[in-house]
Each structure stands twice: as C-alpha cells, then as structure tokens.
Subunit: 441 residues, 2 copies
C-alpha cells in the first residue's frame, strides 16, 4: 500500500471535528477505496484548548493557518475557517503556490476568488476541491463536474440555504409571520444572530455562482447575480400560492439562453408537483436541466457538521486516489467571461399581489396597465377583507383597500415593472406591490 495521505486541517469547528471523526470511523474503508490511508498530521484553530469532544493532542499544532498551509509535512491542506479574505484566503493561496492540494468548504472565498485560485491550482498541477461549499452533503459539484460532462446544461437551480427553507416551511405550515419563524430558527440554531447573510439571499448567491461556473463553463461571477431575500414574504403570499397550486421557495437559478446567462436568487413560486417543491425544512435540493438528461434532482442535507464533513472526506479520497481535475471542470483559461443577461430581460410568469384602492374603476385600470404592456393574465383573484384566502391577519394591510392577486403568463421583467409603476402613478395601489417570479419545470 502507498504512503498515507497526510492532511493538515485549519479550522476545528463542527465541520473540522466531524471530518476528523469520519476519517477515524471510516479508516479501513477509505484505505481500501483509495489504496492508501488518509491521516491527520497537523491542525490549526483559534483555540488549542477548547473542548471539542475529540483529542487533538496527537496532531502537530500550528497557531498560524498560513504556516500550516506552507508546512512540507502535509500532502493536502483542508481549509475550514471560512471568510473570503484574511487568513483563509492567504492560507489557501499559500498551499496552492507550494504545490499542495486544497480541500475547502469556503463558498465565499471561491465565489470571490475562484478563478484566481483555480489558476494557481492548475499552475501547480494540484487539486482544488470544494464539494462541501455547496449544499453540504449533496454531491452536486461531483455530479456537475464529472458525471454530467456529456451534457449541455440549460439550467441549474435549487434550494441552497436551509435557514430560508426552514423559515418558509414553518410560515406555510403554521401560518406564522416571517419574524416569528426567524426567531424560532434562531432559537433552534438554524439561523445566526445576524441572519442577514442567509435570509437576504447572499449565501445562496455564493453557492449559485459556483454552480453556474460548473454548469456553463463560465468564470465565477457572483457580482452579476440578482439577489432578493425572503424578508418581504407574508403568510398571505404563502396561502395564495397554496391555493393556486404552488409553493414559495428561495431559489438560486442560473439559466443559459441566446441572450446570455441569467443568475438570480429570489423567492420563487414552484409548481407543487415538482420534486423541488416537496423539499421542506433545512433540507437542500438542486435540479439540473440538460439536453441528455431532462431533469435530475438531488435532495439531501445542506448543512450540519457530519454531512458537510462527508463532502470533505469524499474530496480527500479523490485526492488520495491521485485525481486532479480543473477546479471548475475545464482549465481556468478556457472559462469564458460570464455573458451577463440583464434582469430586465428575464422572461417568465409572475405572481403579483396588490393592495388596490377600493373604488370603482380600479380593477379596470389595473387590467388596462397590464394590457398596455402586452401582459396576459392566467388568473386574477380579488377577495374582500375577511375573505377566505387573502383576508384577515396581515398587519401590512391598509384600510379601504382590497387585496388582488394576479398570475401572469410569460412576460419580461421590464414589462411587468413598467406596468406596476404605471399603476402606482395612477394612484390605484396603496402599498408597494409584491412580485414573485414563477419557475416552471
């Protein structure tokens, strides 16, 4: 059997300690699969003495992760610190420039510096693996990078943030407000004290940027992503979606068409019958539409120490077997700049919820403004206060107004925005309209 693969781990939070545990537990199977053992040689973390439930005394200790990354006694550097700048960035660069392969779970780092880091890895001829950076234990990177290489991919989309999916699932199931469900998620440890990064869609955007690059062979470009969070979703919206045969999910969506690549993160209406609509709680799901495979969906745990560690260990096993691939599936020099499709050109159906002034002519006025922009309506539901579906309990409601829900046939973002602006200018609308894009199979 070949020499063991000696790894150095920087960052010993839940994922780091779970990685050590999995490597122990599966030592025999890993050696059998890889033809060599995988052993932890050295570690680095903020605190050496913190109780992690495992002993780290058997490993060499580094105060400085960058020094660990440069250590010639490790064969792989595992970066589990997080952060898109500072020590994580410096350490990953240092390892790659030394010719040491890297495994990382750091989506923020890759979303920002992915192309540069891929270039460094390729120059050194070593692996830069990041299965754990997207959807935790779901092997979506390997699927896109290896299994689907025979496919032209048209679309990749998914539920990539467990916090948001948990909150939306709870709001729908219990009829509770966004604020109440966020507080609950925070109590249960599913949401951070400062939840902005998750609920604002930014975490999803980082992951989507990586999936887009892998799916389309384009340079990672997180700046080009249109991002909306779930803060403005109300129980009214969830009830209306249910009534109309949809569920609301925070999706990251990347599509390719003649006009370019669209990357967007926003609350989305998905038909109730789709696999992705069935995904509840903190679970993640990714769906891929490709020419040879009409739809492939992967569903599984998107977070958690052990699930994420499972992805880290899979990446390590690939390296132990000698696999070296271009990090984004093709050499970084062959990744094309992302042909950014403007959000205004987005085509699709829309859910629109309006608070309309309760006076004659308002409904006709709204219909006219839609027609002017060539927008056809699939359905229109108007119910008076106290009505079964859109009635009652929404604190955002305004007296003297009537809630109206419209579902449009496919139109463009530019047209629907112009139509809504005109309605607002007409004085028909008493609060900011709610606009949710519909994603079809």
């Amino acid at each position: 059997m070949a020499d063991p693969l000696r790894i150095g781990i920087a960052g010993l939070g839940t994922v780091g300690t779970s990685t050590i545990r999995l490597l122990d537990r599966r030592a025999n199977a890993l050696a059998a699969s890889c033809g060599r053992a995988i052993t932890v040689a050295a570690v680095s973390a903020r605190s050496r003495s913190r109780d992690r439930g495992i002993s780290i005394e058997r490993y060499r200790w580094f105060d400085d992760p960058v020094a660990l990354a440069r250590d010639p006694g490790i064969d792989v550097f595992v970066e589990l610190m997080g952060g898109d700048e500072g020590p994580a960035h410096e350490a990953v660069r240092a390892a790659l420039d030394m010719g040491t392969p890297v495994v990382t779970a750091n989506k923020a780092l890759l979303a920002r510096h992915g192309v540069d880091l891929a270039r460094r890895a390729e120059k050194a001829g070593v692996a830069l693996n990041f299965e754990a950076a997207v959807a935790g234990g779901v092997p979506i990177i390997k699927t896109l990078r290896e299994a689907l290489v025979g496919n032209n991919i048209d679309r990749v989309y998914g539920i990539l943030n467990g916090t948001c999916n948990y909150i939306l699932t709870r709001m729908e199931a219990e009829g509770l407000s966004f604020g109440a469900c966020l507080a609950e998620a925070q109590r249960l440890g599913y949401a951070e004290a400062d939840p902005t990064f998750d609920i604002g869609g930014f975490d999803t955007a980082h992951k989507l940027a990586l999936l887009t690059s892998l799916a389309f062979g384009t340079q990672v470009d997180a700046e080009a992503i249109h991002v909306e969070g779930i803060e403005r979703i109300t129980t009214e919206d969830l009830a209306a979606a249910a009534e109309l045969g949809y569920r609301i999910k925070l999706l990251g969506v990347a599509t390719r068409s003649e006009s370019g690549v669209e990357q967007r993160v926003h609350p989305t209406m998905v038909p109730r019958s789709t696999p992705i609509a069935q995904v509840d709680g903190v679970t993640n799901a990714v769906a891929i539409d490709a020419d040879a495979i009409p739809e492939l969906t992967l569903v599984g745990p998107g977070a958690g120490g052990e699930a994420t560690a499972s992805a880290v260990v899979g990446d390590l096993a690939d390296i132990a077997r000698g696999q070296v691939m271009a990090p984004f599936g093709r050499p970084s020099g062959e990744l094309t700049p992302l042909p950014h499709a403007a959000m205004q050109a987005h085509k699709g159906g829309y859910y629109v919820r309006l608070s309309v002034v309760d006076r004659p002519g308002a409904a006709a006025g709204i219909a006219t403004r839609m027609a002017e922009r060539g927008i056809s309506l699939e359905s229109i539901v108007q119910k008076h206060r106290g009505g079964r579906v859109y009635g009652g309990d929404d604190p955002s409601k305004v007296a003297g107004s009537v809630p109206v829900v419209l579902i449009t046939y496919a139109t463009t973002e530019a047209h629907i925005r112009l139509a809504l602006e005109a309605m607002v200018a007409d004085g028909y609308i008493v609060e900011p309209p709610q606009l949710i894009r519909i994603e079809r199979e």
Copy 2:
C-alpha cells in the same frame, strides 16, 4: 494535449448511437475537461447497414464484438450489447484480460459475474465502469463509490424500473387495472412484448445487487434477493394506500443490520410525504441512509438512449482523465461474502388486505390470530361492498365476503405469514391474502 482516447463500441442500439452523438456534440467540453479528446475508433453491431440516423462509415467495423474487444487499436471497450452470457460476457472478459478498460451498461452481466470481472479489471489495473447499468442518467454509482466513501451506509433503496413505476402511476391516477396499464405501457414503448423481466421485479433485482455491493462492501449476490413483482397489485390496494397516506411503489431495498444484509424487491407502501413517493411515471429515484448523511435522494431519468449515454460518457471521461478505481469501491478480494439475512426475519409494518367471509365471529377470529403472534394493529378498516374505498370494481371479489384492510405495527415476516396461514386454515379468508410491506423513512 495528450493523445485521444480511442474507444470501440459494441452494440449500436439507442444507447450506442446516442453515445456517439453525445461524444460528437460535447467534443470540445470533453477535451477541455479531460485534457484529451475522446474519439470513436471502431464499432461492432448485429447489422452494419441498419439506418441509425448517424453515419458509422468513418469507424472501423467488426462483425465480431470479441475481436473488437481484443483490438489493440482501442483504448477502451464499451459494451452495450446486453445479456449476461454469450458475446457480451466473452467480449468484456477478453478486453479486461488484454488490459483494456471497459465501460458497460449491462446490469445482468455484472449482477451475475461482477466479482469475477472486477477481479480481472484489478489484475490488469484498469477501470470497469458501469454508471449506466443502474438508474440510467442518475449518477448513483459515482455517488456511492466516490462521494459517500466517508459514510457507513445503513440502507439504499429506490425505484429502479421505469416500466413498473409507469404502470403503478397510471393505475393510481386513472383507476385502471394492471392489465390495461401494462397494455398501454407496451403501446408507448415503456414495456417489452414479454414484460416478465420488468414487471416481475428481476430487472430491479439486478440493479439492486450492484447497489448493495457498493453500499456495504459485499460481494455482488443477486441470488440472495427476495423478488416479488407488481402483477398482483390491484386498484383496490392503490385506493386503500392513498386513503391511509401511502403510495405503492416497486422498490429495491437493501438494509444492513446485526442479522445481516437484507436484499428485497417488492411492491412497497411508502409514506406519501417522502421524496420517493413523489416519483411518477418512468422516472427513477434512489435514496441512501448513511450515518453522516441521514438521507440523500437522487431523482432522474432511469432509461432512454440519451440519459443512459450520458452515464456512459461520464464513465469514459473518468477513464480519459486516468481514473482507475476498484469497480465495487474496494478491491474484490476485500469484498466480504454477503451475510444473507433471511426474509422470514424481516421486520417492518405490513399492509394486509383480506376477503373475509361475511359471518359473525370472523373479525374476532382474525384479530385473535394476529394477537397470537404478538402483532399489533395500527389500523383496521372494514367496509361493506359498495363502500367508498374498498368497494365495487375489483373482479377478484367473491360474493359473501367483506374486504378488510389491516395496517400492522412492526412485526416479522415469519409472524405475519403464520398468522395469515392460521386464518386461512380457520376458513375465514376466501381468497389469497394481499400482503404489502411498508417502508418507513
């Protein structure tokens, strides 16, 4: 760039011709991903002149697939002929013994000769890849063999046969009989003229045998599988399942416990809320329960020329990049003989549908026989003929009898069988009882 990888394809049906098409269509992306081109060098098929919609004149022709397998001008032999004996077996053996890697979609061949072929591949130090053999375009082999290597797997189960799932979906949706839906599937090309292999569960069993080996590190052992088909499922069963919150799917299930490994293929009640229950039509799905990943589900096209070819091309790309793995995830000498758990020891809940003689004491007699075996009932539904759920249209019904549906709590196969035998002996039951196992999350 390295020399092209020259492949020889034996078998030019839909999968073979789709493979050639995909290799053409994705030539640039494949070369970028693999660092070398993948080119078809030679082909073999039953007929040289048949119109396949693609020209095969540019490839060298072999009448004999074994001669193609032995040709020194190919770097990989792709076997797409099918059959567990004869030319397919001989050709794959010949290629491996020559030191030529093999890609195959042939589940029957691997279910029967997997361990021997793996040994030959390892001896030659070459790959034997078979992603296309299970669940078509769904990358389940790669997921088990590579991505989940950090996990102890407890269970793998799935919908592995599109024909059966199509028939069950149609029976449920339309209330049509098994025979009518089978005829429809045959008309649409989803079922063979002789459908026994699919509807009897044997195709699912071949695929399950491969998944079991990969999941548990055991020798492929298709003989040990308990196999039941879907022929006896009635619209009555599907309606009762729906009423009770379940759907009926033909599953292949492999579980590991202290008593050994259970491998079984049979119609199964799955809770309606599970991802696998949502899978309709010819789609396949595989779910994995592992220690680090509580549940991972992959859903996608299980058949079709292009989807299966996508898996073949993924396998070829791995070989083009130089990847060589033990075919079943660990060296064949380290695969343990399957510790076969007897079906009589199977533990789980059961759905039992009985036609009970319509006379006093029958219900009490049935309850007593269950109690004697320590079987607790979760629910019992008895409805008279013409009742809403279990009434009316089943031709198997017998006058003077009442349909009774029982759902049991977990018991053993041995106990439920003994209880049913006793009821039959008592004369309470007028037709063979229907027994469907329940699979929980």
